[in-house]
């Protein structure tokens, strides 16, 4: 098949299906998710939407599919501007989205699920009719699923096909898939791509959201790259190189942004924080070998990871979220039991141990989700300040009584040392701002006098001041000879702080290096799953 023949028809000036013009989206908390984004979708094409976490991919497609209203800008079809108040209206127009998390009734069969999605309240379910139409549709599209098995019994890939079928049965002209390959096995990915090509040739336009470079290059006709809410590139796939895409995705190093420091070279203090001293590498603190662990849905999330962290260094783990970083951290902090592998802190095994035993070994854990994990929000500042250390002799008096006096003294010290703005030790934690909540967590953990700090997304959602403060604290700890394992989806943060960095992709380390050894493009490629050898 000629590679450019099918998409070619969409390139004439008026052949567009839908155009998003100057879309800006500001969320109610002030986050600017999209800024003046413009996207044109033609008939007969697969468009890859590429970008890091928080680049605005999902926001843009949610606006197209009627889930979110844009703050500014409009969506235009050849017949004029359109505005969808709900996904149902978008579906009626011919735009359907398949989300990362499926919306299927587990005990219903595929046919019943599809019939359900068609019905209005109180109308009759026409199961036989739906079945006939589905069979015709399956015949035509080549998308095969068992229609009479409860969907919970189907494999994830098949469930995804039910979702696609559900959307296709509404005669959509534009199909949006949000990270469809993240739950699939390699074989299922291939099948999906064959299907997508066939759908395109039939006349359906497809938007494929992904952060995987290989996939986007193998199946799309055109690639649109988003970075921090702005469109930074719109290239034909045939003309795109991996390097170019990676560079577009992670961005060029701009002079005002922090530049990575090469440890081996002469020290030039130019990080975003105060100059980093050269600290002699200390003893090995954390040693991890061949760690394998499952994620929440039973897939292998961490797939044989080995590394060491020494005192006086920050090991940064970069990568797009959802590639096993959370599960790795949970294994090391007692929240998840791995399948195999070893992890020791100063030669003491930590796998399968309780968090409280692990904290006793000198581990501090700044969790990625401060509301779900880090804090008990209705508790007071004082109560939160002893979470995890409440059984330590300092705070536990005779008969298990809490030593109120010491707890309050401890909180006051934390508030002063870590600059936590609150009305007092008895203020509820939920009354604090996000920055102060994070300072409370970081303060609590650093006050444990740990040998190693495991910090997961420590500055997510914080304003610049608070983020800088917390980064400075981590550097200070490092300079005091502590080991620090920093997991962050923010590449700039990892590059600025880490002495060594590893890039995680699909549960494995794609490469380990010192900042400066790899260019940003190379790191971007590793984050996108292109291995080092191919880079060189």
């Amino acid at each position: 098949m000629k590679k450019s023949a099918a998409p070619g028809s969409g390139r004439d000036a008026d052949g567009y299906l839908l155009r998003a013009e100057g879309i800006t989206k500001v969320y109610s908390d002030g986050t600017v998710a999209l800024e003046e984004a413009t996207l044109e979708i033609h008939t007969h094409e697969i468009v890859g939407l590429l970008g890091e976490n928080g680049a605005g991919k999902t926001t843009l497609t949610k606006i197209l599919s009627g889930l979110l209203p844009p703050t500014r800008g409009r969506v235009v079809s050849p017949k004029g501007p359109v505005r969808f108040a709900s996904p149902r209206e978008a579906l009626d127009f011919g735009i359907g989205m398949v989300h990362q998390h499926f919306a299927l009734v587990g005990t219903f069969t595929a046919a019943e699920n599809v019939a359900l999605s068609h019905e209005k309240p109180f109308s009759r379910i026409r199961l036989a009719e739906t079945r006939e139409r589905l069979e015709a549709l399956m015949e035509e599209s080549g998308l095969r699923v068992p229609l009479d098995v409860p969907v919970e019994k189907l494999a994830v890939g098949e469930q995804q096909r039910v979702e696609i079928l559900k959307v296709l049965s509404r005669d959509v002209k534009l199909l949006i898939l949000d990270e469809p390959t993240s739950v699939l096995t390699p074989l299922e990915v291939d099948e999906l791509f064959v299907l997508l090509r066939r759908l395109r040739d039939r006349g359906t336009s497809i938007i494929l959201i992904t952060h995987k470079l290989k996939e986007v290059q193998s199946v799309t006709d055109r690639i649109v790259v988003l970075r921090r809410g702005a469109m930074v590139g719109d290239v034909r796939t045939a003309e795109a190189t991996t390097e170019r895409l990676a560079q577009l995705m992670v961005g060029k190093t701009i002079a005002t942004e922090p530049t990575a420091v090469e440890l081996s070279a002469e020290q030039v203090p130019k990080t975003l924080s105060a100059g980093r001293k050269k600290v002699p590498l200390g003893e090995g603190i954390l040693h991890v070998a061949d760690l394998v662990a499952r994620g929440n849905t039973g897939e292998i999330a961490v797939d044989g990871v080995s590394f060491d962290v020494h005192g006086g260094e920050i090991l940064g783990i970069a990568g797009v979220e959802g590639n096993g970083q959370s599960e790795l951290v949970e294994c090391l902090t007692g929240l998840r039991v791995p399948i195999s592998g070893t992890a020791t802190i100063r030669d003491t095994n930590i796998l399968g141990k309780d968090p409280r035993q692990i904290y006793r070994l000198g581990v501090a854990h700044v969790p990625e989700d401060r509301w779900r994990l880090g804090l008990v929000l209705p508790f007071t500042l004082a109560e939160n300040a002893i979470l995890g250390v409440h059984q330590w002799e300092e705070f536990r008096g005779p008969f298990g009584f809490v030593r109120r006096g010491r707890v309050n003294q401890h909180v006051r010290q934390l508030m002063e040392r870590f600059d936590i703005q609150a009305t007092g030790p008895n203020a509820p934690a939920k009354s604090l701002s996000g920055g102060n909540q994070q300072k409370l967590i970081v303060g609590r953990e650093l006050a444990k006098n740990p040998a190693i700090v495991v910090a997961s997304q420590p500055t997510r959602g914080l304003d610049i001041g608070a983020a800088k403060y917390i980064r400075d604290l981590l550097i200070e700890m490092r300079d005091n000879g502590r080991a620090i394992l920093l997991v962050s989806a923010d590449l700039d943060e990892v590059l600025a702080l880490a002495d060594r960095l590893a890039i995680m992709y699909e549960g494995r380390f794609m490469g380990e290096s010192c900042p400066g050894e790899l260019s940003r493009e190379q790191i971007g490629m590793l984050m996108g799953g292109v291995a080092c050898k191919e880079v060189a």
């Binding site: 902090t333 007692g334 929240l335 309780d354 968090p355 409280r356 035993q357 904290y359 854990h365 969790p367 779900r372 994990l373 880090g374 804090l375 008990v376 929000l377 209705p378 508790f379 109560e383 002893i386 979470l387 995890g388 409440h390 059984q391 705070f395 536990r396 008969f399 298990g400 009584f401 809490v402 109120r404």
Partner: protein, 384 residues
């Protein structure tokens, strides 16, 4: 002109701000007032004089030392069963099983009849029996939850029935009074709570309730164990992160709650004259609904030991005063009306939650109005 009925909603917003900003104690007080008003309305509809009835109720509940004594004696077991419910709520679980745990505890307390001991010690042994039996009865649902994931709501309700029939069996066939088949053995004088006010049924059992409330308050708010229980109840994931073993906190809360419920049973059979026994023949008239009323008391008392004592005094007063109300000369209001007032109070407790929903309701109303207006405008265009 605005079509929106919610357009001028300053009043509504004001009400909402007032209600959502209320201190929990005031919210409970307001609920009590609303409950009484609903009761008054119903009495009026049925042709009674609410003011006279409430005056009788008030007199009968808090009018003098005799009335206070009977109010507090009725509050005694309610405080304990309310604590059962609230300790488990603090741990993030709904223990509906106070009724069964209380009955089993009462039967265990009656068993002290089988041996003689010096007074005081005999009483203490009875309390230990009751607390242990109540705790044992609640540990099974807790273990089912931990090991098999059985919802504690279902299992505790089921255990209420098992406990009730077990207690009936014991009361009719095992610990039955050989002279009077309708009742169990009578608790001997050495194992009874001394009467506090002569001529009333107010005994030292009330101080047992106060003591347990105080102990639970200290456990929950001043010990590391209570800290763990509350943390696990509010945010189980954060508790796990903090090294708290959630299974352990579940067991602890059910044990404490079950013991309190068992003591409630003991407080009745060992501290409530004149019977000092359970009546299996009449299906436990003096032991029925204590567990369920305790849940209402816990709600009104905001699951706090101190609040529970206040709420129990209110509910005890309603029970005590209700008896007077139905015999009040020209205006005999049936006792059932008091139960209606209690129900209305519990319902009114959820009103603040409803008020918090108002912004959402208002938004829905506005979008509906917009839709109607749009349709209206387009049909006008069509006609011109």
């Amino acid at each position: 002109m605005s079509l929106n009925p919610f357009g001028n909603s300053r009043l509504l917003r004001g009400a909402r701000r007032t209600l959502t900003g209320l201190h929990p104690a005031l919210e409970s007080l307001l609920a009590a007032v609303i409950g009484l008003l609903i009761g008054a309305l119903l009495m009026y509809i049925w042709g009674f004089d609410p003011w006279k009835a409430y005056w009788a109720l008030l007199q009968g509940a808090y009018g003098g030392s005799y009335e206070w004594a009977s109010t507090l004696s009725r509050a005694t077991p309610l405080i304990l069963t309310a604590l059962t419910f609230s300790v488990c709520v603090r741990a993030g679980m709904f223990n509906i099983g106070a009724e069964g745990q209380m009955l089993v505890g009462a039967m265990a307390a009656i068993c002290v009849t089988y041996f003689a001991m010096p007074s005081g010690i005999h009483l203490l042994i009875g309390l230990v029996f009751a607390a242990a039996a109540g705790a044992a009865w609640s540990i099974v649902p807790a273990l089912l939850k931990i090991t098999r994931g059985v919802s504690e709501v279902i299992s505790t309700i089921m255990f209420n029935w098992i406990g009730r029939w077990l207690a009936l069996y014991l009361a009719i066939y095992v610990i039955v009074d050989p002279q009077r088949a309708e009742k169990t053995l009578t608790v001997p004088v050495t194992a009874r709570f001394p009467i506090l006010v002569r001529g009333t049924d107010f005994s030292y059992a009330f101080f047992l309730s106060l003591f347990v409330a105080l102990v639970l308050y200290f456990i929950l708010w001043h010990t590391t164990m209570g800290y763990e229980v509350r943390a696990a109840g509010l945010n189980p994931t954060a508790a796990r992160y903090g090294g708290i073993r959630n299974k352990r906190t579940m067991i602890v809360s059910f044990l404490l709650g079950g013991a309190a419920a068992g003591l409630a049973g003991a407080a009745i059979v060992m501290g409530m004259p004149p019977s000092y026994a359970a009546f299996g023949g009449g299906a436990f008239p003096n032991l029925t609904n204590i567990g369920f009323d305790g849940m209402a008391v816990a709600m009104v008392g905001r699951n706090h030991p101190i609040g529970i004592i206040a709420a129990a005094v209110l509910f005890g007063g309603l029970n005590a005063g209700g008896r007077v109300m139905q015999f009040y000369g020209s205006n005999p209001v049936p006792l059932e009306m008091v139960r209606i007032v209690m129900g209305a109070i519990v319902l009114a407790m959820s009103v603040p939650e409803l008020i918090r929903l108002f912004p959402a309701i208002r938004k829905q109303g506005q979008s509906l109005m917009r839709l109607l207006r749009k349709k209206g405008a387009s049909s006008e265009e069509g006609s011109t």
